[in-house]
Amino acid sequence: MAGPMRIRAAAADGITEVRVLMSHPMETGQRKDGSGNVIPAHYITELVAKHNDKEVLKVEMGPSVSTNPYLSFKFKGGASGDTIEVSWKDNKGESRTDSVQIR
C-alpha cells in the first residue's frame, strides 16, 4: 500500500550520509474530511536504519511529522557497496523496508 522509499547513501572521509524520503500520509487524526468525519490517525511511529545488519539509528516519530517524511543522518563508518536498510512501522501496524548500497 505504501510507496517505495527513496534512499541515498554516500560515504566520504569515514562518514556515511544517508538521506531517506518516505512515502506516507502521516495523518494526525485531527483533520476532518469534507463531510465532517475525522480522518483517522495514520502515521509512522518508529523507524530503524541498519548498516550491514548493525542498527545505526532508531527514530520514534509521531503526528507532528509531516506527510512524506524526509530524514537525513550521518554515521561513522560505512564503505562503498555496504548495505543500508531502512524500516518503518506505523500506528496501524503497517510496515515497509527498503535497502540500498552505499555509493
Binding site: G3, R6, R19, L21, S23, S66, T67, N68, Y70, S72
Partner: protein, 267 residues
Amino acid sequence: MKKGIATAALTAAIAGGVTGALADDTAAALEQYRQMIQDSNPAELNEMAGEELWVTPRGPKNATLEQCDLGLGPGVVEGAYAQMPRYFEDTGRVQDLESRLMTCMETLQGIPSEEIINGKFRQGERGKVADLVAYVVGQSRGAKIQVDLDHPKVKEMFELGKQAFWYRSGPMDFACATCHATDGERIRMQDLPNLTKHEGAAAAWGSWPAYRVSNSQFWTMQHRLNDCYRQQRTAEPIYGSDITIALSVYMAGMANGGTMNAPAAKR
C-alpha cells in the same frame, strides 16, 4: 536596544518598499530555503511511481507504455522532454508531454483521452499522467532545452502562444503578461519570472513540473497553466488543448538553450 531593533526593522521595511523588491537578506534567506527543499523533494516519489507506470500493463489493451514515441523513437525517454513540445507525424499536431502521453495511453493501452480531458487534476487517470510526467521529465534532468522552432507547425504554435500570452480577458482584463512580462515583479512573497526574456523563461520552463510545498501537491505544467487562468478569474482552458500547448511552445522556445532541472520543489 529595543529602539535600535525597531529602527532597523523599519529601515529594512522601507528599503523593501522603496526598491519594490524584497530586502537583500530576505531574498538570500528565501533562496537558501529554495535550495534546501530541492534535497527532500517529494516529487521524486511521483517519479518513482511514473517509472513503474511506464512498464506496467494497463488499460483495455493491457499494454505498457514502452512503445510510446516521445519524439526520439519508441520507448526512448532519456532526453525526450528537453525537445518538447514538438510536431508529431502520426497525429499531425504539435504536442506537449501531457497531450502526447494521452495519445500513447489511448493508442497503446486503450485508455480514452476523453476520460482524462473530462477528469480532474490529481485524480484518476489524469493523476496517473502526472506521475508519468514526473518520470519522463526527470529523465531530461541536465539536458539542454532544444525546441525545434524552425519547424513550420512549431513556429505557428510559438506565434499563437505569444499572442495568447498577451491576450487580455476576464473581469480583471488580465493576461499572462500582466504578471509575467516585467523584471522584478512579485506577488506577495512569490517572485514572478519575466517569461518574455530568455532568463526568466529558462528558469520557469526548466523548473516545472514541481512539488509545491505551499499546498503539498505535485503540479504539472498543464495544472500550472490552468491555475493561472483561474487566478485571473477568466475561462480555464480545456486540458491538453491547443492554447495550452501553444503557451508551452512559447515558454519553451524562449527557454531554448537553458537547462532542464525538473521535477523541482517550489514554495
